[in-house]
Symmetry: C2
Subunit: 364 residues, 2 copies
């Protein structure tokens, strides 16, 4: 088990920054942010879509965010090069996003209403919180190149953030994720992830909760237990150890898609025992290496996110697992989501889930 | 009113081709396809996703489809240049897709089961039908450059296809759409659209039906009537005439998003009166010109599709309208769907729907 030590600091515009350190008293929290950032960016509002029964965030301030800036804002600050991280070095750092999709300084502390609104136009201020998670102070690294100990420290930081954000009262669901690769529009190459504290339960989670609830009522069993048992017997297992299993699901949508489940039931990262975190790190690194090895010389662009139970509702049916998906469909080829997927939600898997899993299984 | 005359032919591998002509006895159906295409490509299967309660198509044969081939297969055949269209010219031509996502020659004539399957792995052969719709025999044209009469002929062809596919018995929903632009992965630049005859009711349509049903039960009113009445009073109307209204919706997801509704209730294109088709064409051309004018010198990449009521269920709550969405978010910039949208279904509108609508309103 690797303990961690957390230090807190603040940025020039009042945003919070947290350092997750392996050693006590690292003294990183004491460095001042010497920039003049002006006022904080407000997140805007969330609007109710009457046609889909879903909330959509409107965040016009984000249009001003930088596109591949010359100086990396996620590197540590050095001399006159002042960044989002005032300390001169760090292991894992987490700070509030300067251009948040949700939350911000002037949002009230209430999540979206859960009842269906009357009327055709309903909006509420976008409560919630958006954070940036830096995995390393080495700009040229990548999550897949880090040590298992560092990956475990990242997961511990995400667990701490999940616990704290869940207790705020204005967040309905915590989502920790990483976007990687210019092919999916990543604007900062420094290794990092993000956390969205949504003020509503997301549409995908609502689907999963409904399916798990129905399965429990129909069969008396946990849906995820049944999925894991079925996939373990099947041809699409990518990696496995005592505590975790990684597989391409039977009805995969993306050309490459891996679900990583703990073999016991946990609602979220905050519930995950230390030994599960330690066992996750090497397994995840293996999966990432298989992804990068699928098409030699071509990093796999991916989106990877932790599904967690919502904070306040459906907690007994939500279950922690990681989902990694990629638009890579071949050497030098990406899948574009066109009208069928984007307008109707009708997906077509061109490779076939077994062929896709076989590529990952043969990639190391 | 413009009548049309339909001629039927067949391609070398047995697929059907239809010509929609303004003049009778054009004689296009009689041209033989002289190619040696070998056997037909089978569409594969659809798999049930237990976690989302949705069907997903697996169509491995599509991986072989051409990427920007040198000779355009949608141009008319001339001399030794043999294409998918045997006739030497055409107005509007529709043929079965050689690389179908659904259907194909060996699929049985049954749609997906509507009850929730038992078990973790359920698949059925992919019934349904995929068609290609060529808007013009001029390779270098684009829908926005065609005459209102030609656009109306295209819509009449789609209406005929909707009626015929709805009567087959193996199709649950007919979706007519156009993908336009290399930015969204279009591999053939010849102006064309597609038709998917899905063997299941798509996830988006299920959401819309549920919302319309609940609205009717709660208020006694038609949801779409209320949406149109609300949007007509609002700041996001892009274009309007006696029979149609085009607006950016209040809770838009995409940087540019336009819904085009007929002002009366029709379940699908097959129900649309002639005068509505004639009135649609100039309005749609205006909307497309506004899209292309939004960022001068840059064609707007878009996905445009007709929402139609399903064939067999929820017909009283489904309602015809066109949805056009674009990933363009600025001059030379596109929006990428990353983890929040792709994994969780959580959308963030960066421009703001009113600012987006203002750009289209000022674009001509």
């Amino acid at each position: 088990m690797t303990a961690f030590h957390m230090e807190s600091g603040s940025l020039a515009d009042g945003r919070q920054i947290l350092y997750f350190n392996t050693a006590p008293d690292a003294g990183r929290g004491g460095f001042a942010d010497k920039r003049d950032l002006g006022g904080r960016v407000s997140a805007g509002e969330i609007r109710y879509d009457v046609l889909r029964d879903e909330w959509v965030a409107v965040s016009a301030g984000r249009s001003d965010r930088p596109t591949l800036p010359v100086a990396c804002p996620l590197c540590p600050s050095h001399g006159d090069e002042l960044t989002e991280v005032p300390a001169p070095d760090y292991e894992v750092a987490v700070f509030e996003n300067r251009f948040p999709s949700f939350g911000g300084f002037d949002a009230p502390g209430l999540p979206a209403p859960t009842e269906i609104p009357d009327g055709m136009e309903t909006a509420v201020p976008a409560a919630g919180r958006c954070e940036v998670v830096c995995f390393s102070d080495d700009h040229d690294s990548s999550l897949v190149e880090l040590s298992p100990e560092r990956v475990a420290l990242v997961v511990r930081a995400l667990a701490q953030r999940t616990a704290e954000l869940s207790a705020r009262g204005d967040i309905a669901q915590v989502f920790c994720f990483e976007n990687r690769g210019v092919e999916i529009g990543v604007t900062l190459h420094h290794p990092h992830g993000q956390i969205y504290g949504y003020p509503y339960v997301t549409p995908q989670t609502r689907k999963h909760l409904a399916a798990a609830k129905r399965h429990k009522e129909t069969t008396g069993r946990d849906l995820f237990d049944d999925i894991i048992a079925s996939e373990r017997r099947g041809p699409r297992v990518i990696a496995e150890n005592d505590h975790w299993i990684a597989f391409t699901p039977y009805a995969a949508r993306w050309p490459f898609e891996v679900q990583i489940h703990p073999k016991a039931r946990f609602a979220d990262l905050a519930e995950l025992p230390e030994e599960y975190i330690d066992a996750f790190a090497p397994l995840y690194l293996e999966v990432l290496k298989r992804c990068d090895g699928a098409f030699p010389g071509q990093q796999m662009p991916y989106m990877a996110g932790w599904h967690q139970a919502p904070v306040g509702e459906g907690r007994e049916f939500g279950r922690l697992r990681l989902e990694l998906v990629s638009i890579r469909r071949g050497a030098g080829k990406v899948k574009f989501l066109a009208s069928s997927e984007s307008v109707m939600g009708g997906w077509v898997h061109d490779l076939g889930p077994e062929a896709s899993a076989d590529i990952l299984k043969g990639a190391l």
